[in-house]
């Protein structure tokens, strides 16, 4: 009895060890990306076509951008990288921390140097842009029927446009600070280096009116539905969801904050060749880019892709020259270098 008991335990171990080794018969590529609608759109716009064309299966690991970076760092430390591609925000993708863990994509990009349709920076050594999105001003058309704030300085004007405000608070405060500085009269082109003191002083004035500090895109949507705010700063992708629901939401493209998502190849991943094939496929799939941004309400990195989208969708994109000139464009280098300082100042300000 005693013998058989311990034998059973040993047998169980052996069995567990034997089944733990994964069967790796087919070609795959592992992509880490935020889940939900974003992942769905990537699949329908690019991955399914890619698999049909090449037979390479795309396996998606769901993780937020911050989780991706943290896990990448951990995988690098233990020397067991299991991802091939990471899809990150443009700013994070350009940070020294991430660049140390990803391949230099400069050579890859040379193949697309002649493509006139690609926007500036669509492909650089930090990877290939998949989409750009605005963080912009929205307001409730029911509560402000005679028009709402279209610039940051108007958003600050609570007399002209009364009602509760919303702003993001997801540990990445530069957008809010940049918006405050533009509201205070700084030209979008002169923003960096950010004058943090001036930004926070400007924010002091609006703070009592900020009812909702959203941490997730979902919270900003839910807050709008629940009437937690009348106007404020939200993601374009989330606003487009509310518009599709038929809500009377109005937005302003002017002075929006433009940030892209970038796909890049991870150093030491198991299927590097497949990863490059996938990114190459995406860069050449103008149709896919158009579909992806139709799904999400974003801006594709190719003018050819934009032309394939509906006129309404094109109207929602910040490509008119006078709008484009007003956009707030992040300075990757400055933001990455000053992240700890900004977060410290931001936390202290929030706690005041």
């Amino acid at each position: 009895m005693r013998l058989s008991a311990s034998h059973a335990v040993i047998a169980a171990f052996v069995l567990a060890a034997a089944t733990a080794a994964p069967a790796r018969a087919e070609e795959t590529v592992v992509v880490a990306a935020t889940g939900g609608a974003y992942e769905q759109s990537l699949r329908k716009s690019f991955f399914d076509d890619f698999t049909n064309a090449t037979g390479i299966r795309v396996q998606v690991v769901t993780a937020s951008a911050q989780e991706q970076i943290t896990k990448l760092k951990a995988m690098n430390q233990v020397g067991a990288v299991t991802w091939d591609i990471a899809v990150l925000g443009d700013i994070e993708a350009h940070s020294n921390d991430v660049r140390a863990m990803t391949e230099d994509m400069g050579t890859f990009c040379q193949a697309f140097a002649e493509r006139k349709d690609l926007l500036k920076g669509a492909c650089d050594s930090s990877g290939a842009q998949l989409n750009s999105g605005l963080t912009y001003i929205v307001w409730d058309g029911d509560k402000l029927p005679n028009g709402g704030p279209t610039t940051w300085s108007e958003l600050w004007d609570v007399k002209r446009f009364p009602g509760a405000r919303t702003f993001p608070n997801f540990n990445d405060p530069w957008r809010v600070m940049a918006a405050a500085l533009v509201a205070d009269g700084v030209a979008p082109s002169d923003l960096f280096p950010l004058d943090i003191d001036r930004a926070l002083r400007k924010l002091d004035a609006l703070k009592p009116h900020i009812n909702l500090w959203w941490k997730t895109g979902d919270a900003s949507q839910q807050g709008y539905r629940a009437g937690e705010y009348v106007a404020g700063m939200v993601w374009q992708t989330r606003a487009s969801v509310l518009l599709k629901e038929g809500r009377n939401l109005k937005f302003s493209l002017k002075e929006g904050v433009l940030v892209s998502d970038r796909a890049t190849v991870v150093k030491g991943g198991p299927n590097k060749a497949n990863a490059l094939k996938l990114l190459n496929f995406i860069e050449n799939s103008v149709d896919g880019m158009a579909r992806h941004c139709t799904n999400l309400g974003c801006t594709p990195p190719s003018t050819a892709a934009m032309e394939k989208m509906s006129p309404e969708d094109q109207a929602n994109m910040p490509i008119k020259p006078e709008i484009y000139a007003s956009l707030i464009i992040p300075d990757f280098e400055w933001i990455n270098a000053n992240r700890p300082l900004m977060l410290d100042r931001w936390n202290t300000w929030l706690q005041k």
């Binding site: 005693r2 008991a5 311990s6 335990v9 040993i10 911050q66 989780e67 970076i69 943290t70 760092k73 921390d97 608070n169 540990n171 990445d172 009812n211 909702l212 500090w213 941490k215 839910q222 807050g223 629940a226 009437g227 937690e228 992240r339 700890p340 977060l343 410290d344 936390n347 202290t348 929030l350 706690q351 005041k352």
Partner: protein
Amino acid sequence: MAARMTSTSTAGIYSPATALVLLLPLIALFCGAFLYPVGRLLAMAVFDPDFTVRHLAKAVESPLYVNVFLRTARIAAAVTLAAFALGYPVALLMSRLSGRAALFVTACVLVPLWTSVLVRSYAWIVLLQTNGLVNGLLRWLGLTEGPLKLLYTEATVLVAMTHVLLPYMILPIYGALRAIPADYERAARNLGAGAVTSFITVTLPLSLPGIFAGCLIVFILSLGFYITPALVGGPETLMAATLISQQATELLDWPFASALSLLLLAGTLVVVVVFRRFLSLSKGL
């Protein structure tokens, strides 16, 4: 006596070697998945790569971090108190009921435990938001003119955390109360104590071990609470766990995140030691 008998009889069936083999997976899991990573994490706080107290000093010197830690401790203490005040009567009721009623109350306490913390926190959002049920009720009753700001405040964090952690307070107290023979309270009543006096002089002191255990669990869980404050709290209710996650995931400053974790762990251990001291005192009474 009964416990000793069972332990010897178990030892009779399984040899020490078999017991060790059976325990091995757990020991391996504990060492590999807990001791090693936590040890490495904490080592990171003071080795970078040579020994340094730089990160610890940064945490202690900055008023921001000190304030966050103090707030965390304050909220944890308030949640513990609230959970005790709400949980003790429930535990007492549970210990007095029998049959269907007992089953019902126990289910009411346990079912939330099987529900995700996320869901329970979202439930509070639905209840307390501007157009939520509570505001709707208040307006319907004519108690308020416009909607009150109930969500994203420190009070909401207290309410939601107390709700989420309540079972952890109720169950140990219930266990302690159930272990008190009914004859003690009968004896007290027989000896001239009214219901209240007999509760204060007999039932309450005898349930102290359960109270201390419940308070300890709730306080410690509160110190490291992450999801609920993040969901229902306002920006000013920054707590220690959120701070640590910012440093670890946003800034990738792992040494500093480790230093903050080390301080939180040290604080937690101090609380455990103090509580244990109370516990042994109450046992020795």
